[in-house]
């Protein structure tokens, strides 16, 4: 078996973010490390919208990012710390829109290891050096400089190791142009490792240490070290250095040391200043269990004469810190509450007045600063107010109550799926492709999402028309007009012209012929209009003068009619019912001239198309004509060979529509747009061919089935780019995004006709006709191919169960650790013994979605069970659990004891502790479905000995994985009844799947075990297991002998049982033979074979075996915790396997990862990659230069276009994406 891995939706979890001028112009950009990708975002400072400019796959684990700018330079460079054991410096190249690797220096082993640098990166503020550090011991300093030709240079590394030191944080100290200085927060463990009494451990000091890079001696020295608060976690750089321009000190230099509850200013030779971090007013907090507030993220913003910091606590509260200083001396450090935003991994401030919040989970947000929190009456706490500037004794913690945003307003949101905790693929809508039900997010920001493949459409206007139009157009009046002025609707017996203004009104003096249907409308030349109707061509001049060309008359006196037409702003072609083609061209005086000859086609012309007139040219040289004899002919419009046939292509059916459009596709041509001829057929198939601009030949044909109706094609503009809308029983859009072609369905009703629409209120819209109604709509996001329908949830979802009878319903269990449930809250409030005044209630009444939950100590849970209707997007039932009970798993079980009536079974536990795993009691609760599954009613609760983590229907009974026990339950009147059990599982059962009498059990640490159920003896017998330990997260059976497993470390593997073993297990009626077989390698008597293994790079949270396209083959679809959605596609032919694995091998050599990670080693991070071809890597083939594509394709005995076609086919035919 060979599999092909394709990522459909990349990870959206932000690991690090930096801001800088990466293009080298004044505009600031944000670079994000998202999963294994690097993204460049450009916020539009006018509208506040974020545009993703580039996404580049790194094929490595990115851990840290930093940027630097050489002194006197204008361009920022990016440094990436990854698991490659290398430091890389990237430059953003605007011309090619890629990150280019300037330098790559190897320093150690690959992998995310303890002493291999890559975890921490700190750059000198003046861009002279960078330090890369590991979690323990290792720190390397590289000097950055320019050579004579002004190229960036990097030195060999200088060691600044600290043996036996654990590093918490590293930052570059701003010292102006003195020797570069780095500050590190570290703990030495050598003494605690030697002292059996534990005294040294108690006394272990956390030290702030300065490392100075002596540029003269080319050497790093430890300059200064001083103990700090042992609970410190983060360092923040403070500006410093003498500024020659302003002739003053930029700041006092030094660092802010963030520890639990306090922030301390420290610098060599300076006095210490300490300020408390105000704590949230929480009257019901358990004081004994309280932990200090931790700072999780920070950002420094420098203005002309001042600077400030924003720091964020783990609750999401932002505090503004300012430092009063005289020259180099610090006078006071001040702290003040600013606003509350989602908890971030990175904060960035843009000079244009925006704050980018890279949330640790969920969407990323862009906020705009309204003010800087200077003029409100919130208290500010200054180090001066405390004895010895707060350094002598710990200042008392002040209280505050968070309030809604005052200084910031949200301007944009980048929707993300991260984290996906569970998913099911279902098709309640009965559509061509299934929908994905996912539960995402964390805490009160959690959501249930129904994902549908397709582009989201936002409808702006819908209005009814008097009849059913057979076409719609919009047109400008003059070439330089910004917006359209007319909407033209053609009916069977007439034409309606509407003007677009404040209201939409009918126009009578437009010059259009309204008594006849219209075939085409075109804005012609500078300021004229053109109408083609069945009996002629009307050229309407700016002064409403009309030049009409009438169709020729047949010998019998009847006029011929126009059957097809196409036009652009300088050329018009019409085809007559006499099978002739007439060509018109605009001359320099704005006169439309007919070409003296007409061309007979020999067959009825059904459709024609030509491209837009290229900017600054007289004409486009090619015309595509689709004839009734199932051919498409390319005809020259060149003055030397006007109307000469160039090439012909035979089709499988007669064409219904042709559209020639110029679009950018880097896989074909990197520098110029490509001319695509899209041919829609009567049978609903679309052909996309490339028109060779020199020879006029059609090459590289790709086919795709769109729907059951004849295809209609329209050239439209979407987000300023030329795109093609294809209408059949579904509407599709062919567009270029980040210079690659995409073809995606629109999630909208079936459109009959469509055209571009541009007005002041809707500058980039589309207009369409559905039956007798007119719709104006936009396509807002081209980047996301999945439309989300969202329902908010209360707590972090843990499991999603679906009802096979009612696929639109989903049953979700949610539970949140370290929060007080509403019940516990009320209880604690009543324990206070008094009524709280409104100002004393503090955080009690805040909206958890905005401010987070009221925090509590470990072992406190809030939990609920919820029923949602995914199609109607609503919660139909919600049950809050009481008594500190938390639910972890759920399943729908049709009990045969209750006439196969489906019941919801929920596994829960009371007073649960995660580490070490413990609980006071655990239950399996059975709920009856009421109201057609939309409600629940508790039947009974059965106590079990451990937390049930896996539940599964099995032969009309319930199979439950309870810790190390697998047990079969039947439904009783008051309790579940034990039928049989097996207690010999290694750690804990987390996943169950079954077929017939075979059960596949996923163990928390010990991979997969095969179990057979012998009903007569009531035995569950383990007969096979895996040889490698895998920390299973999910597993599904692919067939009776094969299972796909996802694990916690991000691997996917496929295991198979030997057919002979499988058979002998089936043939044993009692199971006694298997039971007494000799254990092999301290486990089950038989072992599974590993068929495939692959490192995905994300914790796999769900697996499903589905067919994603109508009539397509089944694929394995997986979701990953950080928002990844991907598929594993089985190969059918050996030839494809050979071709693609050779291609992969070549690409591994050609396509050097931008973080310097070896691809084969990356995909085999834990276990060598086996029988899986990385489709994401293969698809980078199209991004290579033409020569490289040609040389690789040559090795494969193919043409580059054939390779690209093969890759596109694999993607489209199996995933539809």
């Amino acid at each position: 078996m060979h599999l092909y891995n394709l990522t459909l939706q990349p990870s959206s979890n932000v690991i690090a973010s930096v801001v800088g001028q990466f293009s080298g112009v004044k505009q600031q950009e944000i670079v994000l490390a998202k999963g294994g990708r690097i993204e460049l975002l450009r916020p539009d400072t006018q509208t506040g919208k974020i545009v993703t400019v580039l996404t580049q796959e790194a094929f490595g684990v990115i851990r840290s990012l930093t940027s630097f700018r050489l002194t006197g330079g204008t361009k920022d460079y990016l440094i990436v710390g990854s698991d490659s054991g290398r430091i890389v410096i990237l430059e953003y190249v605007t011309k090619t829109n890629t990150f280019f690797k300037l330098h790559q220096e190897t320093f150690g082993r690959s992998g995310s290891r303890r002493i291999v640098p890559g975890q921490y990166l700190a750059s000198d503020p003046k861009g002279r050096a960078v330090l890369i550090g590991a979690v323990e011991k290792s720190k390397l300093v590289y000097i950055l400089n320019r050579d004579a030709a002004a190229n960036l240079t990097i030195s060999s590394p200088l060691e600044a190791h600290r043996p036996n030191g654990i590093i918490h944080s590293i930052v570059g100290v701003d010292v102006g142009f003195e020797n570069p200085l780095f500050a590190s927060l570290e703990v030495d463990y050598s003494e605690s490792d030697q002292d059996p009494t534990g005294e040294a451990f108690e006394k272990a000091e956390k030290a702030l240490t300065y490392y100075e890079l002596d540029l003269g001696l080319n050497h790093v020295v430890r300059r200064w070290s001083e103990p700090v608060d042992p609970r410190s976690n983060l360092l923040i750089q403070v500006p410093g250095g003498y500024n020659q321009n302003t002739e003053r000190w930029d700041g006092p230099s030094g660092v802010l040391v963030c520890s639990e509850d306090y922030i301390t200013y420290k610098h060599q030779g300076q006095n210490e200043h300490r300020v408390p971090i105000p704590r949230r007013l929480n009257p019901i907090e358990n004081e004994n269990e309280r932990r200090g507030t931790l700072i999780v993220a920070s950002v420094l913003h420098k203005m002309k004469n001042a600077f400030f910091f924003l720091v964020q606590t783990e609750d999401g509260d932002l505090f503004k810190i300012t430092i009063d200083h005289e020259e180099e001396d610090v006078k006071a450090v001040k702290i003040k509450y600013f606003d509350t935003v989602p908890v971030a991994t990175g904060l960035n401030i843009l000079r244009a007045g925006f704050l980018f919040v890279a949330s640790e989970f969920g969407s990323q947000y862009l906020y705009s600063f309204q003010k800087l929190g200077d003029d409100d009456d919130l208290p500010e706490y200054s180090s001066q107010d405390y004895p010895g500037n707060g350094a002598e004794e710990l200042p008392e913690l002040p209280f505050f109550t968070p309030r809604p945003l005052e200084n910031l307003i949200q301007v944009d949101e980048m929707v993300s799926l991260d984290p996906i905790l569970d998913a099911k693929v279902l098709n309640p809508l009965g559509a061509d492709s299934p929908q994905i039900f996912t539960v995402c997010g964390r805490g009160a920001r959690s959501t249930f999402r129904m994902l549908r493949h397709g582009l989201e459409v936002q409808e702006a206007v819908s209005s009814d028309l008097p009849g059913v139009p057979n076409a719609v157009w919009t047109t400008r009046l003059r070439k330089e007009d910004e917006f359209d002025s007319y909407i033209i609707l053609s009916f069977v017996n007439g034409t309606l012209v509407l003007s677009i203004g404040e209201t939409i009104e009918e126009v009578s003096d437009s010059g259009f012929l309204t008594s006849s249907p219209t075939l085409a409308v075109q804005q012609l030349g500078h300021d004229a209009l053109l109408q083609v109707h069945p009996l002629g061509v009307r050229h309407i001049l700016a002064d409403k003068m009309v030049n009409e060309w009438a169709t020729p008359t047949l010998p019998n006196g009847e006029p011929t009619t126009i059957v097809a037409t196409t036009s652009n702003e300088r050329q018009v072609v019409v085809a007559l019912s006499s099978n002739e083609i007439v060509y018109f061209e605009l001359d320099m005086d704005g006169q439309l001239n007919e070409y003296q000859e007409r061309k007979g086609m020999g067959a009825r012309v059904l459709t024609m198309s030509m491209a837009e007139c290229p900017e600054g040219r007289q004409r486009t040289p090619y015309l595509a004509v689709g004839c009734e004899d199932s051919t498409v002919r390319i005809i020259s419009l060149d003055p030397d060979s006007t109307l000469a046939s160039i090439s012909i292509q035979a089709l499988t059916a007669s064409p219904s529509s042709i559209c020639v459009a110029e679009m950018n596709d880097v896989t074909i041509d990197r520098n110029h747009p490509t001319l695509f001829v899209n041919i829609g057929l009567q049978n609903g198939v679309l052909l996309r061919t490339v028109l060779d601009p020199i020879s006029g030949q059609l090459t590289d044909t790709r086919t795709r089935f769109l729907g059951s109706k004849p295809v209609r094609l329209v050239r439209v503009k979407v987000q300023g780019q030329s795109s093609v809308l294809a209408l059949s029983s579904r509407s599709w859009l062919s567009y270029a995004y980040q210079s690659r072609m995409h073809f995606t369905p629109l999630i909208f009703e079936t459109l009959d006709h469509a055209w571009t629409f541009s007005a002041e209120l809707c500058p980039e819209g589309l207009i369409g006709v559905i039956g007798s109604s007119l719709r104006i709509f936009t396509i807002p996001f081209l980047g996301t191919k999945l439309k989300h329908d969202t329902i908010p949830l209360s707590y972090t979802p843990r499991c999603l169960a679906s009802n096979p009878d009612k696929p639109n319903l989903a049953y979700i269990v949610e539970s949140e650790h370290r929060t007080l449930s509403p019940e516990a809250k009320t209880k604690r409030l009543s324990e206070l013994g008094r009524e709280l005044k409104p100002h004393e209630r503090g955080v009690l009444d805040l909206d958890p979605a905005e401010f987070g939950f009221v925090r509590a100590e470990a072992g406190q849970w809030s939990s609920c069970v919820r029923v949602v209707d995914g199609v109607a997007s609503q919660t139909t039932f919600r049950l809050e659990l009481e008594g500190n009970e938390a639910a972890f798993t759920a399943s729908i079980v049709p009990f045969s004891a209750a006439n196969d009536e489906p019941h919801l079974v929920v596994g829960s536990a009371v007073d649960t502790y995660i580490s070490p795993k413990a609980c006071k009691a655990a239950y399996i609760s059975v709920f009856k479905l009421t109201g057609g599954g939309r409600g629940l009613e508790l039947v009974h609760k059965t106590e079990v000995e451990d937390v049930p983590l896996a539940l599964k229907p099995f032969q009309g009974k319930l199979l439950a994985g309870i810790g190390k026990t697998l047990r079969l339950y039947d439904l009783g009147k008051k309790k579940l009844l034990r039928k049989c059990e097996n207690k010999n599982f290694p750690t804990a059962i987390v996943s169950l799947s079954s077929q017939g009498t075979r059960i596949v059990v996923g163990d928390m640490q010990e991979s997969i075990l095969f179990v057979t159920y012998k009903p007569n003896e009531g035995r569950l017998i383990i007969f096979a297991d895996d040889i490698l330990p895998k920390w299973t997260t999910c597993a599904i059976m692919l067939d009776y002998e094969t299972v796909a497993v996802g694990d916690k470390f991000g691997n996917l593997s496929v295991l198979r049982l030997d057919a002979a073993v499988s058979k002998s297990v089936e043939e044993d009626p009692t199971g006694l033979t298997i039971l007494h077989e000799k254990p092999y390698l301290m486990g089950a008597p038989n072992k599974l074979n590993q068929l495939a293994h692959y490192f995905v790079g994300d914790v796999v949270t769900s697996l499903s075996k589905v067919s994603l396209v109508a009539g397509g083959r089944e694929v394995v679809m997986y979701t990953g915790l950080s928002g990844t959605v991907g598929t594993l596609i089985p190969f059918v032919s050996k030839e494809d396997v050979d071709t693609l694995s050779t291609l992969e091998m070549h690409l591994r050599q050609e396509n050097d990862s931008i973080v310097g990670r070896d691809h084969l080693a990356f995909r085999g991070s834990y276990v060598p990659v086996k029988s899986v071809i990385d489709g994401d890597l293969c698809e980078t083939f199209g991004l290579l230069t033409q020569q490289k594509q040609a040389s690789i394709a040559d090795e494969l005995d193919r043409k580059p276009s054939e390779v690209n076609k093969k890759l596109a086919q694999l993607r489209e035919a199996n995933t539809g994406f």
């Binding site: 979890n13 043996p163 914790v1099």
Partner: protein, 84 residues
């Protein structure tokens, strides 16, 4: 002489590659190393880091901080040295 040299080279390598074990390692040292490696690995693999944070209802920064803190002495104080 040669054995001494080999010994010192080995010691040098051990100090350079922290976490490498040797034939005479005791259970405590081995376990401590395992725990430190695991903590560092969790911090260094972002999805795993998120996984821990989600399961425990903590922020990622808190998880990282507590893991770093734990690296100081993950398995309690060392056992008393036996006199030989």
């Amino acid at each position: 002489m040669a054995a001494d040299l080999r010994q010192s080279q080995l010691e040098h390598l051990h100090s350079r590659y922290v976490g490498t074990i040797h034939p005479d390692i005791n259970k405590y040292d081995w376990l401590t190393n395992q725990h430190r490696d695991t903590s560092a690995s969790i911090i260094g693999h972002p999805p795993l880091h998120s996984y821990m944070a989600l399961a425990d209802g903590e922020s990622k920064a808190r998880v990282k901080f507590e893991l770093c803190e734990r690296m100081l002495q993950p398995c309690g104080p060392p056992p008393e040295k036996e006199e030989d």
